[in-house]
Subunit: 357 residues, 2 copies
């Protein structure tokens, strides 16, 4: 039954505001290019998109970091842009340049032409991946499903790829707001239905990556990102009234908006490395996920990482009346391809050791 999860997991205990044996840790993009075995499977797949669409290979790369490291959760291997692709956009990945769309959205006609997705059909390969993982994962390792936030997906759909100044989507924000609201409505439905399908297929929690919410002013963030994060969370709840699957929202650069993010009906908020975690703790009642600078794993060494982990845990504890409850350790953004394996091990060991209850 939905919502009955294996509560032996420290990750799920903390997400549900319960006490745990230690602070759990997982890493954004933990199945990724810093792992030699990932690079090998990626090569075998031929392309990044092939890898996303092949449930067997995607299962393999999801499991790879768990074989090396004592991670407290797994996250299904996929890309946020599979949703716009399922809506009819043509996606490709150029090496070194990141994902691109061949025909970025330019008009309301382009918005109208986007398909309403049926996730079990249009994203069947993700659902198969989830079912595979429910078989393959160790019993105490929960599975995180995810989607991009509506705003972040709209950024890629309009910009056509990553962007420096977001001039195209900001043209919609400032000069064609209704057209953008229509797009975000449509994308929100797709995102919510996609996450509902993931929950039904068996994920233990869902995460919304609002990677580009931070490029907006506060007023526009509330109007064009926050409102649609709320809409997605609401639609999930309406679709699955008995659902207790916890949810995590991460707005990169959202440290200045924690007060507003705290109003979302989610269980946890991700924070990047720029805000002190003690300050974050004082600004939200939700579980906090974060917040080591990911670059540390590339440029520091195990001893320096342990010192930094200690500082973060201590800052959290001091702001939380001496208690470590309500903190999931993570990076402040995805792990970089240049991350060193011994630093990753050191990080995970340090979190577990320094947060023993």
């Amino acid at each position: 039954m939905l919502g009955i999860k294996d509560m032996n997991s420290n990750f799920l205990k903390v997400l549900n505001q319960q006490s745990a044996e230690h602070t759990p840790i997982w890493l954004m993009r933990q199945a990724g290019r810093y792992l030699p075995e990932y690079r090998k499977t990626r090569e075998q797949a031929g392309s990044f998109l092939n890898l996303c669409k092949n449930p067997d290979l995607a299962t393999e790369v999801t499991l790879q970091p768990l074989r090396r490291f004592a991670l407290d959760a797994s996250i299904m291997f996929s890309d946020i842009l599979v949703v716009p692709e399922a809506m009819g956009m043509h996606l490709y990945f150029s090496d070194g340049e990141g994902p691109k769309f061949t025909n970025p959205l330019q008009s309301s006609l382009d918005v109208d032409a986007l398909k309403v997705i049926e996730p079990d059909f249009d994203l069947a390969y993700v659902m198969q991946l989830i079912r595979n993982l429910k078989q393959e994962l160790p019993r105490n390792t929960p599975l995180i499903g995810f989607s991009g936030s509506p705003w972040t997906l709209a950024c890629y759909m309009i910009e056509g790829g990553s962007s420096k100044n977001y001039e195209k989507i900001k043209t919609w924000v400032y000069s064609h707001p209704q057209q953008l609201h229509n797009l975000l409505d449509k994308v929100s439905i797709a995102v919510a239905d996609y996450l509902v399908a993931q929950i039904k297929a068996g994920v233990d929690t869902v995460m919304l990556f609002d990677s580009w919410g931070g490029v907006l002013s506060e007023a526009k963030f509330i109007e064009f990102s926050h409102a649609y994060l709320a809409k997605v969370l609401q639609r999930i709840q309406l679709s699955l009234p008995a659902n207790k699957t916890p949810s995590i929202v991460f707005t990169k650069g959202g440290g200045v908006w924690l007060e507003q993010l705290d109003q979302l009906k989610c269980n946890a908020l991700g924070v990047d490395w720029t805000i002190d975690i003690g300050k974050a703790r004082s600004q939200t009642t939700k579980v906090i996920q974060g917040n080591l600078d990911p670059v540390m794993l590339s440029v520091a060494n195990p001893s320096i990482i342990k010192t930094e982990v200690s500082r973060i845990i201590q800052a959290y504890r001091e702001a939380n009346a001496g208690d470590l409850t309500g903190h999931i350790f993570n990076l402040g953004h995805g792990i970089l391809p240049s991350a060193k394996l011994d630093n990753v091990s050191a990080l995970i060991d340090a979190v577990h050791e320094l947060s023993q209850r």
Copy 2:
């Protein structure tokens, strides 16, 4: 005599916490590529660096935006990287890619090899520019001098140019902190001495651009950027004990650290567009400079810009007990080359009109 400024300027009145006729406005990078006459002079100069080093042409481009727009302040045309260049690094500007150093710093030997600058000699062309401008500027138009912050200059000096993840300088942050402190000490002295020379040459205020402070965690920001902003401000005061020239500090992405920035001995803090200006007002006692999203000037129209100006002024007023004192209007970052001239006019008119006392 230093510190006796023409107080008919609304900009200087506000910087000194006095009442003014209206909220003053100037624009970061107001002499820049969005102006056709700038592009012409830039072409005449042959290169960006030639333009910086030619006081006559630099005077011309400083004055250009003032001829078109009712700006309340001017800022000397220059680049923050002239300081590392004067310290002995070889700087070049590749079109489209921004500034680069041929030989980025790699070791403590490279730090030791940096020259101690004598600004009146090594940056004589900037001092000549300031003297020119004091002759040429309208009497009520104050002149802003500036420098990059020690941290931001160190970023360029170590990365060799702009950077995505700042892995090189973060290697110093996390693995060679003493070497980085030595560099920042040396750069702080150069920056302070450079600003002292600018004050002696006649600028009415000095601004520190901490463009990349926002890439750090709070703890590292305090250690590697904030501490050296404080050092620069202190050294200026020690060099010029009777100095009353006001100072402005702008850390892009610093909205989460306003409490700490408030402790600096400067008169004003710049804020980017991501933080609500009302929220910023409640977190610092200093004058606030900001905070329109610069992309608006490229993608919106005059009517939308007026609405946004109204929103910002209203948010400031509400957070400041109905009073507009203590706000200098600006963008949240430099104006883009794609900014439209009629939008710039509309912005300046709207600020003046909507903030009439």
